[in-house]
Amino acid sequence: MDRPARAVLTRIALVIPQLIGLTALVFLLVRLLPGDPVISRLGGVAPQESIDNLRHKLGLDLPIHVQYLNYMKGLLHGDLGDSWRTAQPVMEDIKMRLPATLELLILGMGIAVFLGLLVGVISAGKPGGLVDRLTILYALLAGSMPEFYIGLILVFVFYVTLGVAPAPAGRLGIAMLPPPRLTGMYLIDSVMAGQWDTFRDALRHLALPVITLSFWQAGAIMKMTRSTMLQIDESDFINYARLVGVKPSIMRRYTLRNALPPIISLAITIFAILIGAVVLIEQVFSWGGLGQYSVQSVISADYEAVTGFLMIAASISLLLFIVMDVLYALIDPRVKL
């Protein structure tokens, strides 16, 4: 069997046990947290009967491995239980809010990668030059600040002071209705429905949170791209290729190919970081996505919702890391399968 097929298959084979481990871990984590969900919901003065009833209703009187198996059975049917706070099935809650968060993540990630690669390559072309020095400074400063603070600065400058950005109060203006739901992402849906006003409004509201996300981490991508390109430029094999007269187009291909592994791995790591950061950004901009949902769930001790959110978020991360492993194995023949 050739290498690409083997790489994919071995990684996929690992997914199942890792997913099981992950779900068990999340389940245990939430179930073992101090604090009793029943008492925190009913209050300390509730009669014992009500407490026992609720406990039985929530299935919390069963042994933990039975609880886990029941949960997994539900999971496989797409049932993550019901949210205590919203009284809706957790799966529905998540489905409603996931697109909003994804829209932020995809745009934020896309711009961060684009800017990072572009500026990184330019910096590497002239090491020690002005662009280079500014890039390093920018990367250091941006990465040292909390992401929510950057969001607040942008709100203060562009909304409060300059008045060019809309209020940080959600995905659309008050008077605007969301477009008919196809994907849940307003940019796509409004284009598909031909609602250009909605599109513009959604874009205006997306601007600041997306800029916050991307500018926060673009610096890290810039730095990594720059140092990778420089390293390759000074490497023995590039020097050798030049010594023996390899065509410039082939040399460029070599450079790109060798730069991919560390950049891909960084990009995926940053995506995982952004998944965590988007929670705080959604708070600042009242986004109404999964991030805000998770915060509200934790604060109201909504264990089902928290479990559901962690399951989804952790599974996405796991898949991302597996994709990264596969890509790495495909590009770099030295990686053992």
Binding site: S235, D236, F237, N239, Y240, A241, R242, L243, V244, G245, V246, K247, P248, I250, Y254, R257, N258, I331, D332, P333, R334
Partner: protein, 350 residues
């Protein structure tokens, strides 16, 4: 002091003016000529002078063995010959004349067709010279296709032939191998195949056998010499620390010290009668644990490249250095036909 004034003597470094006469060159059969090359490296610790007034010429049919200690600038010289010295190094003076053109004045775009095709290179660090992410066959094919407009299939066929010619047993399997899967000797052979697949006119072999087991060394060298013989390679520069290799394979010897040529001559002449004190020490200490070898070992390192001394660069280790050696740097002169020497005491010694 015997000097060859004027520009007729082909190895005479004392030339009054630059001769770019193509005709004259081909009459005398000089393929590559290096004149007065200075290379320095600018670092935080200061400026290191790696090559100082380096010069020699290679005629058609010659196999020149260049001897130098580690760190004497052999690899830098290899880079100079194809004008590939980059930050923090700089070529500050001199000429590298190949087929009538001074390569040091040719721009990067025009150098590409010469590198690898006209002037081939076997590099010293063969395992790191290969791109770890591309299979070695493709890498050699890329080199070939950078110089010849051929189809992928034909390139692959040529590469397979080149790999087989270096004595590798299963060319097909090796074609698809990646650099990390190859042993040191295998990697060396791949680099040799890459150097010879384009059938270069001039070949530079930088330490082609360092780091190899003694048994493999002989095999690799023999395969390389066979290939050179078969192809149209007109001249070879073999850089090594191993005098034995030079004795066995080369026709001429160049001895370098501190980035300069100190002696140059035919192999027979050199081994029978070395003239420079350094050459004598080298030959005497070829036998380990003898008195000369031990004396040599006690002498300390070559001069500090950051602060080259006045006068002769070898005087710190020289047994016969005196007056003029301390103050003036000796020029490279032809003391016998075909035998050059850079030493004030040359006459007395010869």
């Amino acid at each position: 002091m015997a000097t060859k004034a004027g520009g007729k003597g082909v190895q005479g470094i004392m030339r009054p003016q630059v001769v770019e006469n193509e005709e004259e060159k081909s009459i005398h059969g000089v393929i590559l000529e290096v004149r007065g090359v200075d290379v320095h490296f600018t670092t935080r610790a200061g400026t290191a002078h790696v090559l100082n007034d380096m010069g020699f010429a290679c005629e058609r049919g010659q196999m020149i063995g260049l001897v130098g200690e580690s760190g004497s600038g052999k690899t830098v010289l290899a880079g100079v010959l194809v004008n590939n010295i980059r930050r923090p190094g700089r070529i500050s003076g001199g000429h590298v004349i190949y087929k009538g053109h001074d390569l040091l004045k040719v721009n990067e775009e025009d150098l590409q067709p010469i590198r690898g095709r006209e002037i081939g290179m076997v590099v010293a660090k063969s395992s790191t010279a290969l791109n770890p992410l591309v299979c070695v066959g493709d890498q050699i094919a890329n080199i070939y296709q950078s110089h010849f407009e051929v189809s992928k299939e034909e390139a692959k066929a040529r590469v397979l032939a080149a790999i087989a010619a270096t004595g590798i047993n299963d060319p097909d399997a090796r074609f698809r191998s990646f650099p990390h899967e190859l042993s040191g000797g295998m990697a060396k052979r791949v680099v040799i195949a890459a150097a010879l697949v384009c059938e270069p006119t001039f070949l530079i072999a930088d330490e082609p056998t360092s780091g190899l087991d003694v048994t493999i060394q002989a095999q690799v060298l023999d395969s390389m010499m066979d290939l050179i013989g078969q192809m149209k390679t007109a001249g070879t520069l073999l850089m090594t620390r191993d005098l034995g290799i030079i004795a066995q394979y080369c026709t001429r010897v160049i001895v370098t010290y501190a980035g300069q040529v100190v002696e140059q001559g035919s192999v027979e002449g050199f081994f029978q009668r070395p003239l420079h004190p350094y050459s004598k020490l080298l030959l005497a200490s070829a036998r380990l644990n003898t008195a000369p070898a031990r004396r040599f070992a006690k002498m300390g390192p070559p001069p500090d490249k950051f602060k080259l001394p006045d006068g002769c660069l070898f005087r710190a280790r020289c047994l016969v250095a005196d007056g003029p050696c301390q103050s003036d740097r000796p020029p490279l002169l032809e003391v016998e036909p075909g035998h050059l020497l850079r030493c004030w005491k040359g006459e007395a010694l010869s």
